[in-house]
């Protein structure tokens, strides 16, 4: 299968230029292409037929990682760059966990965090870790105004986000971690590094006594796409690293999500994956948090 005719291809140099280009097309006709590793699948299968393709590769403002004040990752930053960046605070280590195992080497050399969160595929890792670590998404609106949207308000469901068709995601950012915080992500697929049948992201903060006083849990691979599991975060409060206490947390997660059966796994197996992956990521996030320099 080959792409349908693409009338126009542009490679703007700045965010302003992107807005000007977008303004020339009726909504939905112009499509932004970041890494294109998912988008090109849709374009080749002709599920998506953009009239105009706007390639973001030259927009310098969208590139790179900055950890001066918390952490900011430009929308056009590729997975391989994130995976290879060892200055990510342990509070947000889940991002690196996820980026290191997206697809395969070639995909990681090309795919971007911004592309992934805006595409918001039903089974994907980056939206889940952005939710799980409470990332903040900076969006440049059609009027050029930049707004900040919390992850909780960004992801609407598979393929649907708060970033409008005339808007541009600039970056994902996280504040300077307070106290001892750690996060972790792990997924399970039928094959190594395949799309998540279930993926679990946990981030938590500890008080001086290494007791969890804030936590978030997000899950990937369910029919509703990457989602925050509030009950999971609540159940983690008071967690002191005792492995015995993990069971109730994953049970709370299972209680508040709906697992589907499909040709990758049955619903009950997904629940077991939540238990197994949950135990692993909770433990890892906790260890990372205890080792964190406040």
């Amino acid at each position: 299968m080959f792409p349908a005719e693409i009338e126009h291809y542009f490679r703007p140099q700045s965010v302003g230029e992107i807005h000007k280009l977008l303004a020339n097309y009726p909504e939905g006709d112009a499509t932004l292409i970041a890494g294109g590793q998912s988008l090109m699948q849709a374009i080749k299968s002709r599920m998506l037929r953009p009239v105009c393709l706007i390639d973001l590769q030259d927009v310098a403002d969208l590139q790179g990682i900055d950890n001066a004040n918390g952490l900011t990752i430009g929308a056009m930053t590729r997975y391989a760059v994130i995976a290879g960046y060892d200055e990510i605070p342990v509070a947000y280590a889940a991002i690196r966990d996820a980026a290191s195992h997206v697809g395969d080497r070639q995909v990681r050399n090309r795919g971007t965090i911004g592309g992934s969160v805006c595409w918001n595929y039903v089974a994907s890792c980056m939206p889940t870790v952005v939710l799980g670590t409470n990332g903040c998404l900076r969006i440049s609106g059609a009027d050029g105004e930049v707004r900040e949207v919390a992850a909780d308000d960004f992801f609407f469901g598979p393929f649907e986000t708060a970033c409008g068709e005339d808007e541009i995601l600039l970056s994902v950012s996280w504040p300077t971690p307070s106290g001892k915080s750690g996060s972790a992500y792990k997924k399970w697929g039928l094959a190594t590094d395949a799309l998540p049948v279930v993926g679990m992201c946990v981030s938590l903060s500890l008080d001086g006594g290494n007791i969890c006083n804030d936590a978030r849990v997000a899950i990937a691979g369910l029919a509703d796409g990457g989602q925050l599991v509030t009950a999971g975060g609540a159940a983690l409060l008071g967690f002191d690293g005792n492995p015995e206490a993990i069971g109730p947390v994953t049970a709370a997660v299972i209680d508040s999500v709906e697992c589907q059966s499909d040709h990758w796994a049955s619903a009950v197996y997904r629940e077991q994956l939540i238990r197994n992956l949950g135990a692993e990521v909770i433990e890892r996030a906790y260890q990372r948090a205890t080792a964190a320099q406040p």
């Binding site: 080959f2 039928l190 094959a191 796994a265």
Partner: protein, 802 residues
């Protein structure tokens, strides 16, 4: 000419020689179907049905034809006057079956999701795809049957309407020709079961999976008034394709040439049938008088070909308390798909699968029944382990179940029942020519200390770790003698080769088969170097072009080292004999073939080594200077030789694997996989290692990862590599190949053909290891695929039971 000499000890035979093919392939200079471009070549895209079963009310091609750059749009109606319907006799096995009659492009109705209904030809492939979207087909949906047992029920919608029901093929394999004999046999089997110490009875089910060459199919056809049709086809059997095209298009035999591209990206059986797409492309090239190429997309490929296995086997085994296997009874139901694929028609695979049920074991009696059902799915196409992946899984699993019931070591039960006296005719009538199964088995078991493993296993269980060991054995046909291949596939079994000596001393070998990665060029060059005492680099091998090669039935069924290489060797011997006669004359000595040695690129008269010529001098004299010749000799050095073995040949293998199962997730790791191979004399162990490793991983991939899924409406849901998962490097183990070979007495070099059936023992070995690990839970796996989720669910159920 059948030479009985056994010359396996010469250095080039058995050498781990790096392949000759590789230089072009690692530098990007291979030539695959998609790399061949002709002037004015047009591109074709098939329009395929997105319904599984529907009547075609009408097809509107006007909008597609109007797209600039479109040359033609063809539908089934356009074929009626110019193309005969399938099947034609050349494509029919000599087996009684209800063959469907059909047009290469469907006319009246579509029978599976993916049925070709139209073809768009355009100057560019992107344009062809644009236009293909605009072909409007009006369908009237018909009831869909996707389950083979439901398809066989009375009142099920009939898919091939030229027949009364969906049973394309049925057979009883044992008990004789007449009904009375069969009843008597069934009774005898009943008696064995009635008196047996233990019996087991299970339903074994293997899903639809198969092989997917990395290069999908393709066809490029050109037509000229002078030469007629030239067709480049991704194919394992160009000569058969040529005959089919002659008959289907009614073209005189002198006007059709088929060429299998020099490089093909894998075949594994998938490129063995004659496909309907071939004839459509040939037809349009003739009609348009210009070259037309179709390169199959992966999406099309996964919807149309490479689907195999898909059987239910209700298997019963009777055994005695000492572990002696007595008899088995099997009722198989196989899902055929539509049955619209030439040569095999879907059912030939389960037919052979049923024949191979006895495997390497002795049985007093068997009662085997098979029914093959037409369904609204793609027609089954051959995949390595032709039909016997499911039956071998069943029999190997069942043997472990007998062992578990008797509390015996599965290894002991196997060894006890191996066939010890060969030649042997199995209880289903399959002939095993030679081999040493005890040696094979003992070599396998020497790779592990079973006693120590059992101690380790017990200790591990104490720690909550579950490790297990599993085995399976296998027999595969080393090529097929005409006695077998004529009835089964309506074609000869012999191997053929032309060996031509070049005046400068190079050796050109022409073969009628068409390899897709097996390394024929390398193996042939080793056989030639062995014969002539020359260097393998001096040999050039040309295969796959019906215009230049002798007839060959194809690169199928492990015919390479058994039939083709034997023909090459014998042709070399014929040439050597001529060289010797002429050199004896030149040297003025009495002497013949036995009196000369060919070594170090020289021909030496053994009785007086001062009488010698370089190979090049010798051949140049005969080819270029045919004067002063012995009486009756003329110049030139070329021989075409056909090799037919006096017996049907087989080879054997055994697998052993050790696994660890995580009972908390159902996931398992393969800690060790080692094989034992009885493959006759090996021409190139590097190549044989590679064939075996590849086949074993194919077996693992089929067992664990791959599954073709159809929904109730017959929608094919696994038409890409995201949904049809094949095993990657991170999920597969290292594999040790070991040998315990017995030279084959029926081939001049003692070689056997290898590799076709090799994946078949994999699912048994793997599932047996897992069941061994999980003996405390009493889990017996009877269904594939083997996935962590189903295994975990079985564990949960077992824990609930305890």
């Amino acid at each position: 000419m059948a030479s009985s000499e056994q010359v396996a000890e010469k250095p080039w035979l058995g050498a781990r020689m790096a392949r000759k093919e590789d230089l072009r392939l690692v530098t990007g200079k291979g030539q695959y179907i998609g790399d061949i471009v002709l002037p004015r070549m047009a591109h074709a895209v098939f329009v395929r049905s997105d319904y599984a079963h529907a009547r075609i009310r009408s097809i509107d091609t006007a909008a597609a034809l109007a797209v600039p750059g479109v040359i033609a749009v063809i539908t089934g109606q356009d074929l009626v006057d110019d193309v005969r319907t399938m099947p034609q006799p050349v494509l029919l096995p000599n087996l009684p079956a209800k063959y469907p009659t059909f047009s290469a492009l469907a006319i009246d109705k579509v029978k599976f999701h993916g049925t070709p209904v139209a073809l768009v030809i355009a100057r560019h492939k992107y344009i062809a795809e644009d236009a293909s979207e605009l072909v409007e087909v009006d369908y009237e949906e018909l009831p869909v049957v996707t389950d083979p047992e439901a398809a066989l029920e009375a009142g099920a919608p009939v898919i091939n309407e030229d027949h009364d029901d969906n049973e394309i093929f049925a057979m009883t394999f044992t008990g004789g020709e007449t009904e009375q004999e069969q009843i008597a046999n069934a009774k005898a089997v009943d008696e064995v079961f009635a008196n047996a110490d233990v019996t087991i009875k299970k339903r074994f089910r293997v899903h639809r999976t198969g092989l997917t060459p990395m290069e999908p199919r393709g066809v490029l056809c050109d037509w000229s008034e002078a030469d007629g049709l030239t067709a480049w086809i991704t194919t394992q059997r160009p000569h058969i394709d040529r005959l089919a095209l002659i008959d289907l298009l009614d073209i005189p035999a002198d006007k059709v040439r088929v060429i299998a591209p020099r490089d093909q990206g894998g075949g594994f059986g998938v490129k063995a049938p004659f496909f309907r797409e071939n004839v459509v492309i040939a037809h349009v090239a003739r009609k348009l008088r210009r070259p037309v190429r179709w390169v199959e997309s992966r999406h099309e490929s996964l919807m149309n070909v490479g689907q195999e296995r898909d059987q239910i086997n209700d298997l019963e085994i009777a055994a005695s308390n000492d572990g002696t296997l007595l008899a088995f009874r099997n009722h198989g139901v196989a899902d055929n798909g539509t049955g619209e694929t030439g040569v095999y028609w879907g059912f030939v695979m389960p037919f052979l699968g049923a024949v191979e049920l006895p495997n390497t074991y002795t049985w007093q009696k068997a009662d085997v029944h098979l029914r093959v059902a037409v369904t609204n799915k793609a027609c089954i196409t051959p995949s390595r382990a032709f039909g016997h992946f499911p039956t071998r899984f069943a029999i190997e699993r069942a043997i472990d179940m007998v062992a578990h019931k008797l509390g015996m070591e599965p290894a002991e039960v196997r060894r006890k029942n191996l066939i010890t006296e060969l030649p042997y005719t199995s209880v289903t009538g399959e002939f095993y020519d030679s081999g040493d199964l005890i040696k094979l088995w003992d070599n396998l078991m020497a790779q592990v200390d079973l006693k120590e493993f059992r101690t380790e296993q017990a200790a591990a269980r104490e720690e909550g770790r579950y490790i297990g060991i599993g085995y399976a054995t296998g027999v595969e046909l080393s090529g097929m003698a005409s006695e077998v291949l004529v009835p089964m596939e309506n074609q000869p079994g012999y191997g053929a080769a032309t060996v031509r000596i070049d005046p400068r001393g190079a050796v050109l070998v022409f073969g009628g088969d068409a390899p897709q990665g097996q390394g024929h060029e390398t193996s042939v060059s080793q056989v030639v170097a062995n014969a002539f005492g020359t260097n393998p680099k001096d040999t050039v091998t040309v295969e796959g072009d019906t215009g230049t090669t002798p007839f060959g039935s194809g690169t199928i069924g492990a015919r390479g080292a058994s039939y083709f290489m034997s023909a090459v060797h014998n042709a070399c011997v014929e040439i050597k004999q001529k060289i010797c006669r002429i050199l004896a004359h030149d040297f003025g000595v009495e002497g013949s073939y036995e009196d000369f040695e060919f070594a170090n690129s020289e021909v030496v008269y053994l009785a007086d080594p001062s009488l010698r010529k370089t190979f090049r001098q010798a051949v140049e004299r005969i080819i270029m200077h045919p004067i002063n010749m012995p009486v009756g000799e003329v110049g030139g050095l070329e021989a075409t030789v056909y090799f037919e073995a006096p017996e049907q040949m087989v080879c054997f293998n055994a697998d052993l694997c050790i696994v660890e199962v995580d009972i908390n997730s159902g996931e398992f790791d393969i800690l060790k996989w080692v094989s034992s191979e009885d493959v006759g004399n090996v021409i190139n162990p590097l190549i044989v290692d590679g064939q075996m490793q590849g086949a074993i991983v194919q077996g693992l991939s089929n067992t664990i990862f791959e599954e073709f899924i159809y929904d109730e409406q017959g929608q094919q849901l696994t038409a890409d590599f995201e949904n049809y998962k094949i095993a990657n490097a991170a999920d597969t183990p290292n594999i040790d190949i070991t040998y315990a070979s017995t030279p084959c007495p029926h081939t001049p070099l003692g070689t056997r053909g290898i590799g076709e059936g090799r994946p078949a023992s994999v699912p048994g070995a793997l599932t047996n290891a897992i069941c061994d690990a999980l003996i405390p839970f009493g889990i017996e796996i009877t269904e594939l695929p083997l996935r962590p989720d189903t295994l975990w669910e079985k564990l949960q159920a077992a824990r609930g039971d305890r």
